[in-house]
Amino acid sequence: MSDPTAITLDLDGRQQTALAAPDATLLTLLREGLGNTGPKRGCNQGVCGACTVMIDGWPQRACLTLAAACADKPVQTLEGLSSDPVMVSLSKHFAEGGAVQCGFCSTGMLISARKLLDDEPNPSSDQVSAALSGNLCRCIGYRKIVEAVQAAAQELAS
């Protein structure tokens, strides 16, 4: 193991610095170095999507991304999106629409949904389902998540 070095991220609109090993993933840096525990470690293999964060405007797996590779790119988690109108609407419809159960997948799911509404403000259920297919949920059965995203889209359009 090599010695940790300081890495500065443009995280949620602020420059934030923490020590990380050269092989540390962004997920490890966020959770252990910076205390941002919104992104979750569900599989550490890039499959479950619970660690999804926005890197340079794209939803990506923090567990597959080297922290050092993010030094010059804006990284966004739910912490930085708390007043984003699209995320506010998505969060509300997730919370009220039965689209949150254990909540472990919710943060990653919301990030993926946020990107979808950027690209397609009025998505069909099929488009929502496709956009969220990389975020595994074991509790809900997906239907109410898809409905919540569409309800947020409708609210934002009106």
């Binding site: 193991m1 959770r31 941002n36 525990t37 919104g38 992104p39 979750k40 470690r41 569900g42 599989c43 550490n44 293999q45 499959v47 479950c48 619970a50 988690t77 739910l78 912490e79 708390s82 969060s91 997730f94 919370a95 009220e96 629409g97 039965g98 949150v100 159960q101 254990c102 909540g103 472990f104 997948c105 919710s106 943060t107 919301l110 259920s125 929502v128 389902s129 496709a130 969220l132 297919s133 990389g134 975020n135 595994l136 949920c137 074991r138 509790c139 809900i140 059965g141 997906y142 239907r143 109410k144 998540i145 898809v146």
Partner: protein, 767 residues
């Protein structure tokens, strides 16, 4: 949606009370917790499925960077845990019984250092023959997996012997004689596979020991009280020395009901003298926790020409894995459910649970019911088909109604099954013809599941300002029990939901709650909450009577947290009542209520029972599940196009949360039916990752998934409610198999219905 301000919250789809934390990323799970001076633990698993441990050398690992403490079997004493048979230590002692079983654990300054040090531990093993199937383990010359089986503590008549962990046999009527009365008899063997729980949050724990030796233990769990009991048993610690707590839990489905890494975390923290955190990797979560039992089921069903069911015999061989865990309960429960929700006068259900050198199998949503229902509901379907009765008709002619007995049992109090069946039949439009290259079919299955079982309590406290804290000890694993129990409390005291806060489970301060399992929290804990809230109401009226100078009987509760004289506008806010209680007379207002489910589930006069793991089980919920599938002729892939679930839930305290339970159960059942399967390559689990073990994604499930709630109130349920946690999964594999049969004319007796299996059937039918 906002909570109504005047009570009346039962029956409302209020958002779960912790959802804002969850959608903001602020909710705290076990992996998010940290403690001052905390170390990180890692496990060394056995490379063999069955071997004697001759020696373990830890010196090199102890000298490695960051390492503070190491434990092995020598550190944990002779204590053994287990809900039915106490056969499992905290960590392997003397021998290993499955591949991956922890033989040592390291606590170090970082997780990476702990894992690196594990590879420096040298273990000398003497390999023993691997017994990887029940047949191999039951062979006459098979070595014993548990040499001390006869000495283990058992809480029921298990009949344990050799590698037979337990056996059960239940009989009603005279099955042998009844076959002669049948015009049609089917007999088939069905098999079901191991299914992983895959809660998206892996298991984990943090243990901390103070200078007096008292342990505080946080963990992902379904019951802080089962955590306490298990750690107490296997580390021989008095229960009062253990304080068990829970953060938010990222799903359960059974995997977090009994112990996982909690005992090892405690043993490591005791040895290190510092807090220790262990969070399993996804691979470890697959390999060393627990999974759904593979079942081999011989099902024999007989009927008269008019479709009347006459007799059924069901014989199960279940793979137990290396430790008993909840398995004797699963076997016994599955046999009690194997008759299905039908009037059949002659029924015999028997089974064997067999130790093997695989990870322990244990509690998993459905508790054995999905497996036997897969067999039983295909038989009902096939009998209907051969007698020219449609799937609805054959069921209507035989299904149970309120007042009729369950298998061996007393009368079913409430039963909305007929309405469930009517509802799915009415709501599903005719199946559209299949496009070219596809075939389509519709399949039906019905099912019943209990809610009930064992002990529970509730404490309702009124604070000085009149607000309410509800404490039940029930762990909310995401399904919403905190919200549902708060709704029940608020309804009873006629206050808005915002006035009721829910205490987090804590074995020091919460009343006993057996656990979030057996679809029981709403039904049993809800009853306790009403009892405790009623006691609070009594004390409120006593206090108010003293202030308003009237009899308590002349008072009633008013919406919004007030109490007043009946027929008058003389009233007080709860704050005035609670202030008097705290500062002047009577003492703080605290209501508590405890109960153990004691419904007359079994009537010993009805039949004979051998090896019954629980004396009273519960009250019954019912479901009808109808699915449309499409089969691709080229690949054999089965897709569920649309599904209708109608469930008799008694009363939906929070309808939206009930719907999600049904949806979630359906999708977990869809994965079980079509593709989920733990596969072993010899002793080694070949697919312990989410890359190789597929669970349903949003693309694998029908978005046209319809849930209908039938409300047939349970007389003693809280506001009429019954449980719904498990029933949503039970009928799904059978309904999908029946639909595949309708599409292809082939009967599927083995799960899962993979493309390969279905394609083989298609090709066979064409030759």
């Amino acid at each position: 949606m906002t909570a109504p301000e005047d009570g009346g919250v039962v029956g409302q789809s209020l958002p779960k009370i912790e959802n804002l934390e969850k959608v903001s990323g602020r909710a705290v799970y076990i992996a998010d917790l940290t403690r001052p001076r905390m170390l990180h633990g890692a496990l060394l698993g056995s490379p063999f499925a069955h071997a004697r441990i001759k020696s373990i050398f830890v010196e090199a690992a102890l000298a490695a960077p960051g390492v503070v403490a190491i434990i092995t079997g020598e550190d944990v004493g002779p204590g053994r845990m287990g809900p039915f048979i106490k056969d499992e230590g905290a960590i392997a002692q003397g021998k290993v019984r499955y591949l991956g079983e922890p033989v040592a654990a390291v606590a170090a300054e970082s997780e990476a250092e702990a894992r690196a040090a594990c590879s420096l531990i040298e273990v000398d093993y003497e390999e023993l023959p691997e017994l990887l199937s029940p047949d191999a383990a039951l062979a006459e010359d098979a070595p014993a997996i548990h040499e001390d089986l006869q000495d283990y503590v058992k809480i029921f008549d298990s009949g344990s012997k050799g590698n037979l962990c337990s056996r059960s046999c239940f009989e009603e009527g005279d099955v042998e004689a009844a076959w002669a009365d049948c015009d049609l008899i089917l007999e088939d063997e069905f098999t079901t596979q191991a299914q992983a729980h895959v809660a998206i949050e892996p298991c984990g724990a943090i243990a901390e020991v103070d200078r007096s030796g008292r342990v505080t233990l946080w963990s992902a769990n379904q019951s802080v009280f089962r955590v306490q009991a298990n750690v107490s048993e296997c580390l021989s610690l008095p229960m009062s020395r253990l304080r068990c707590l829970t953060p938010q839990v990222g799903g359960g489905f059974g995997i977090k009901m009994e112990a996982h890494v909690q005992p090892i975390a405690v043993a490591l923290a005791m040895k290190a003298g510092r807090p220790v955190k262990i969070v399993l990797t996804r691979e470890e979560d697959f390999e060393i926790t627990r999974a759904r039992h593979p079942f081999r089921i011989r099902m024999k069903t007989g009927a008269k020409r008019d479709g009347t069911l006459v007799a059924r015999e069901c014989e199960v061989v279940a793979d137990c894995g290396a430790y008993a865990d909840d398995s004797p309960g699963v076997l016994g429960y599955s046999l009690l459910m194997a008759r299905g929700p039908y009037r059949i006068a002659n029924v015999k259900c028997l089974g064997q649970l067999v130790y093997t050198n695989k990870l322990r199998f244990g509690a998993y949503r459905g508790f054995g019911n999905p497996q036997v229902t897969f067999a039983g509901e295909q038989h009902i379907d096939e009998i209907g088909r051969r007698l020219g009765l449609d799937p609805f008709e054959i069921r209507r002619r035989n299904m149970v109604a309120a007042g009729e007995p369950w298998f061996l049992g007393g009368a079913i109090a409430s039963c909305g099954l007929a309405e469930c069946l009517d509802t799915v039949e009415r709501e599903a439009p005719a199946l559209a013809p299949a496009p070219k290259g596809k075939r389509r079919g519709r399949g039906l299955a019905i099912n019943a599941h209990i809610s009930g079982l064992l002990g529970t309590g509730a404490i309702v406290r009124m604070l000085e300002d009149g607000s309410i804290v509800l404490n039940t000890g029930a762990t909310d694993i995401g399904q919403g029990s905190d919200t549902v129990l708060a709704q029940i409390c608020a309804e009873t005291l006629k206050v808005p939901l915002s006035m009721v806060k829910v205490a987090s489970p804590d074995t020091d301060g919460s009343p006993f709650n057996w656990g979030t399992t057996a679809s029981r929290v709403t039904y049993t804990t809800g009853r306790a909450v009403i009892g405790a809230a009623k006691e609070v109401e009594r004390q409120i009226k006593e206090q108010a009577g003293a202030i308003l100078e009237c009899e308590p009987a002349d008072l009633d509760l008013r919406p919004g947290g007030r109490v007043g004289v009946v027929g008058s506008d003389r009233e007080l806010p709860f704050a005035a009542v609670s202030g008097r209680a705290h500062w002047a007379a009577g003492g703080p207002i605290i209501g508590s209520h405890s109960l153990v489910f004691d419904g007359k589930t079994f009537d010993p006069k009805r039949g004979s029972v051998l090896g019954l793991p629980f004396p009273q089980i519960g009250v019954f919920s019912f479901i009808a599940c109808l699915v449309d599938v499409e089969v691709d002729e080229a690949s054999g892939q089965v897709t569920v196009l649309e599904a209708w679930n109608a469930c008799d839930v008694g009363r939906a305290i929070n309808p939206k949360l009930v719907e999600v339970q049904l949806d979630g159960g359906f999708v977990q059942g869809l994965g079980f039916a079509l593709f989920e399967e733990m596969v072993w390559d010899g002793p080694r689990l070949a697919n312990p990752s989410l890359m190789d073990y597929k669970i349903p994604t949003s693309r694998d499930v029908p978005l046209r998934l319809h849930s209908f709630l039938i409300e047939e109130p349970e007389p003693d349920g809280p506001y009429g409610a019954k449980g719904v946690g498990e029933i949503g999964i039970n009928a799904v594999p059978a309904a999908i198999a029946n639909a595949a049969t309708a599409a292809l004319g082939h009967r599927f007796r083995d799960l899962p219905l993979t493309g390969e299996r279905v394609l083989d059937a298609l090709l066979e039918s064409e030759t």
